[in-house]
Every structure is written in C-alpha cells, then in structure tokens.
C-alpha cells in the first residue's frame, strides 16, 4: 500500500470526518436528551446517575403532555398566527420591494437606506409605546398586533427581495409598460410569478419566526384560549409541578413542525441565510 496516499487520505478525509462527527454530536446531544427524557417514567427520571437510553418507553407521557394543557388548541393558535404572518410578509414585502427596485423614482435610495437602518433599532425599543398604542385602539388580546405589522413590510425581507429583483433584466417589464400596461399589472402578471423562489424563502423564514416568537404573544395575549404554544408551554411548568418528562414530550412536539419544514425545504433555508450576508 502507498503510505503517502494513506497519509493524505487520513489528513483530508478521516480527520475532518471525525471532527465533524464530534461537532454534530455536541449539537445533537441536547435534542437527544429532550427525546430520551420525554420517554422516561418518573422513577427512571429520578434515578441517579441518569440512564442514557430509556429503559422503558412510556408513550403515555405524550398523551399526558397533550392532555395536561390544551395542547391542540395552542398548536392551532400557533399555526393561525404563523400563517397570518407568512401571508402578510409575502404579500407586503413583494409589493413594497417592487417599488424599491423596479421603478426609478426620486428619493428611492434614501428611503431604502432608512429602511435598512431600521434593522439596527432593537425591537424592544418600541415595545412599551406600541403596547399602549394597541391598548388604546382595543387590539390587546387579539391577534391583530401579532399579524398586522407583518403586512407593513420588514427590512430584512425587503432587502432579500430587492436583491433578487435588481438582478432581473430591465427590459422584462419595460416592453409591457410601453404597451400601456400599468405598473400594477406588470407587478402582478410578470414579476410576481418570477419572484417565487425568493418569496418561498421569505415565507419560510417569516413563518418559522412567528412560530418561535415569544415576547410579542407574551405581551399582547392575555386569555389562555388565545395562547400559542410558546406561551402555553410556559403554563405547563407552573401548573403541573414540573412534570419534566411531559414537558420534554410537549417541547418535542413543538419542535417537530420546524424540523419537518426544514427537511422539506432545506435548500430555501440555506439560500435565505446567505442572501443576508452583505458584501461591503
């Protein structure tokens, strides 16, 4: 055997492989522990040292988890909010980004710069005042403060879609405009279909972010039957004397939709995140 070849293979393939596996192990351990704990019975959970693999799989934990708290209701609420935010983000950001990229008008660049600059304002800065404003117009304890803002555009998504639209050739739309089509027709009939890939990215990111959101629903929602999962799970601990196995079962169930979405649309996640990387 060629020793030099073996050495090269070891250096280029085997060592990186081992390093990657060790890293992945680190990142999987907490998730593994979540699932493992979710199956443990209360006796097994209290034994020390902890068992690495559940001795007996208590599926009942999952049943308890969804029955202790109105899990299904919370789940559906989360879904409603996420779908609302997704619809709002896709509609508004595609529309606004069109104005920021395909039409040439005075003041456009300045306004867009301002839009980008708002990304640096931490969201909690507006929190207290927004609560008071929404309280005055009677929006507290409704989904309106959670969903309506997504219909007014978000800087990050505007940036992503604009990048995409700027890369499309100009004469795609100018011919139609000369033929007398209105800007709105061009947007709807020509551009919107072309935007599909970037809108998929926006849809996925806004949906997942809404699903994961904690602070906004915590503040605006006050009755239990409106709670999404993020707030509902919190109850679990307070009311049921920390049933850790069931809590882990519920957490697993809250994570699963995101994992499924990720497995289905992996490509879009990767594209979305790298579009954010501005050069210069």
């Amino acid at each position: 055997m060629d020793w030099k070849y073996v050495k090269k293979h070891l250096k280029k393939k085997t060592v990186p492989r081992i390093l990657l596996m060790v890293m992945c192990l680190f990142y999987l351990l907490p998730l593994y522990w979540m699932v493992a704990t979710s199956f443990k019975g209360s006796e097994e959970l209290s034994s020390f040292p902890p068992t690495l693999w559940p001795h007996k799989f208590i599926w009942q934990n999952y049943r308890d988890a969804v029955e202790y708290i109105p899990f299904l209701k919370y789940f559906i609420n989360s879904l409603i909010i996420a779908l609302g935010v997704t619809a709002g983000s896709v509609l508004s950001n595609s529309f606004i980004a069109y104005g920021f990229s395909r039409i040439q008008w005075k003041g456009r660049e300045v306004l867009f710069l301002i839009a980008i600059a708002t990304m640096f304002i931490p969201f909690p800065v507006t929190l207290v005042a927004l609560f008071d404003i929404f309280a005055k117009i009677g929006w507290i304890n409704t989904y309106l403060p959670l969903i309506v803002p997504s219909f007014l555009g978000q800087a990050l998504y505007l940036f992503m879609i604009r990048q995409f639209l700027m890369s499309l050739p100009k004469d795609l739309s100018s011919a139609a405009i000369i033929d007398g089509a209105s800007e709105f027709t061009v947007f709807l009939k020509i551009m919107l279909p072309l935007m599909k890939p970037v809108l998929a990215v926006v849809a996925i990111f806004s949906g997942v972010n809404a699903w994961n959101d904690f602070l906004t629903p915590l503040i605006y929602l006050q009755t239990e039957d409106l709670y999404p999962l993020s707030i509902g799970l919190q109850f679990f601990r307070a009311e049921h004397n920390v049933a850790f196995s069931q809590l882990m079962a519920a957490s697993t169930l809250a994570i699963v939709p995101v994992v499924i979405l990720f497995l289905l649309f992996q490509r879009f996640f990767v594209e979305g995140i790298t579009v954010g990387a501005v050069k210069g």
Binding site: P16, R17, L20, M23, C24, Y27, P30, W33, M34, S46, F48, P50, S92, F95, I96, F100, Q104, W105, G107, R108, L111, I114, F120, I121, P122, F123, P124, V125, T126, L127, V128, A129, L130, F131, D132, P149, L152, N212, F214, L215, L218, I219, L229, L233, Q234, R237, A238, L247, A254, I255, V258, V259, F262, V270, I273, T274, G276, A277, K279, G280
Partner: protein, 298 residues
C-alpha cells in the same frame, strides 16, 4: 419633472406606501411617544402625569437598573466573541470536502432555527445536576457537578453556552464567505511555502472580516435583546429573575417594569437608554471596523 418621472414617483410611492405607514406608525411614532412617556408617571390607565426628569433620576440610583445593565453587558461580551469563533469553526468544518458533508451541515444548522422557548426548556433538563446529561458528562470527565441554573455564578455562562446552539445560522454565512475566497490566493501562498495555519491567519481570516463585522453587529443587537431564555428559565422571574437576580437582563427589566409593575413611564425611560446605547454601539462598531475590515477590490 417630465411626465414619466412624475408617474414613476407616484407609482413608486404607492408601492412603498405600506412600508412608509409601518415606518411611521410602528417605529417613528412609538419611539417619540416613549420619549414623551419617559417624562411621566403612567400606569397604562388614565392620563400620564408629567414628572420631569424624575424617572431618569430614579434610574441612576436604581440598583436593579445597574444590575440589569451589567448582566446584559456580561452576556454580550461573552456571547458575541464566542459566537463568532464558534461560527467560524463550524463554517470551516462545513467546508470540508467529505462526501456526506450535507448531512453534517444540516445537523449543525438545524438547532439555530428551532424555537428558543422549547430549547430553553430542554436546557433546564439538559443542564440539571440530577437528571441532566451535561453534568453527567462533566462528572465523567472528573469535573465537579455544576448547578447551571441555580448557582448565580453559572446562570449567565450557561445562557452563553445555550446561545452557541444557534451558531449554525451565522456559520452558513461564514461558509458562503469561505467559498468566495479566490483559490489563487491559497495556491500562491502554498508556493511561497505558507502552511495551513499561516494561510488561515493571513488569507482566510482577513477575507472573512466583512462577515465577522456583520456577525458582530447582529450578535450585539441580539445580545442587547436577550430575554426569552431568561424568562423561561426563571419562570417569568416574578420575585427574582434567577438566583440573586443574575438573569435580570435589560429587556427583562423593561418587561417587568412595564407589564408586571405597570410603571410604563419608568419603563419608557429604560427604553430610551437602551435606544441610545444601541445606537452608540452600532456606530462605534462601524467606526472601529474601518481599521480591521478588509474589503476586497474585486
């Protein structure tokens, strides 16, 4: 202005009008409104009562304000640099040319999009001294058992550690950055006899500096906003936010004042301090970045 220019201006404004409405109603007005509230005593009901600078005077003497500021800075100072290093390490690993690298990439990235509220619950269980895996491993390595969420010395480091689960997101951006480095640079370095370490320090790292800047800005902004983990780990922190208030982060303190103590005026004063601090930080980072960020001239 020609007819076309006029029409374009009108159309452009129509298309961006939802954003203009959002900008004015959801950002400009609330920020100004909270400035006004910061000079008042206000419970959220009735009319705000003007109190001049009282809130700001209270704030300077408020030990919890100082504490929450300290906690937030502690978290940010550790989480941001560590986050950059971990993200670069992951990106370097993701960039290896092994056949099944896509699988590793997916595994390393996935935790960064999972809901933080669920991960916080997982962290409570994972780091538990009795039935957590983390302490079991530490023990196996001959290290002492650490109560990560019960010992005030360890609560913040434990949240810094938890944040590293999200490093896969920034790592993907670094990966894109790594891919963008021209191969010739490495080739000519190799001809000049530079080893792998030397190439990393004098080519890879300088070429990644724009992404590092982006990651620092993003990390700072997230660091100043840290809330969910602390809220969940301390069960809402109604009495104290963690042992010895060690998890009372700045936004947590704003939240408590506004929504637990209904001191909206005081909370608004806190908000304004946060606004000013984050603007100063963002500007100074950009200024500081001029001395070390390398912009390629391609």
């Amino acid at each position: 202005m020609t007819k076309t220019e006029k029409r374009n201006l009108r159309n452009g404004l129509i298309f961006v009008s939802p954003w203009i409405v959002g900008f004015l109603c959801l950002q400009v007005y609330p920020i100004l409104y909270s400035l006004r509230l910061s000079f008042t005593r206000y419970s959220g009901f009735g009319k705000p009562v003007s109190v001049g600078l009282e809130n700001f005077r209270t704030l300077i003497q408020d030990p919890l304000f100082t504490k929450s500021l300290y906690n937030t800075f502690f978290y940010t100072v550790w989480a941001v640099p560590l986050g950059v290093v971990v993200a670069i390490l992951i990106a370097l690993a993701m960039n290896q040319r092994v056949r099944e690298v896509a699988v590793y990439r997916a595994i390393l990235y996935l935790p960064s999009i999972l809901p933080l509220f669920a991960l916080s619950f997982v962290w409570i269980v994972f780091s538990n001294p009795r039935f957590g895996l983390l302490n079991y491993i530490l023990q196996g390595l001959g290290l002492p058992i650490i109560d990560f969420i019960g010992n005030p010395v360890w609560t913040k480091p434990s949240i810094v550690l938890l944040a590293q689960l999200g490093a896969g997101g920034p790592a993907l951006i670094f990966l894109a950055g790594l891919r963008g480095i021209p191969r010739e640079l490495y080739e000519s370095a190799e001809i000049d006899g530079a080893g792998a370490m030397r190439s990393f320090w004098s080519i890879t790292l300088p070429m990644l500096t724009p992404v590092i800047l982006y990651d620092i800005i993003l990390g700072l902004s997230m660091g100043l906003q840290v809330f969910t983990q602390a809220y969940i780990i301390t069960s809402g922190g109604v009495n104290m936010a963690g042992p010895n208030n060690s998890l009372l982060f700045y936004v947590f303190y704003i939240y408590k004042n506004a929504f637990q103590y209904t001191r909206m005026g005081y909370a608004s004063a806190l908000v304004w301090v946060l606004f000013v601090i984050s603007m100063i930080l963002a500007l100074s980072v950009f200024k500081w970045a001029r001395s070390w960020v390398h912009y390629g001239n391609e």
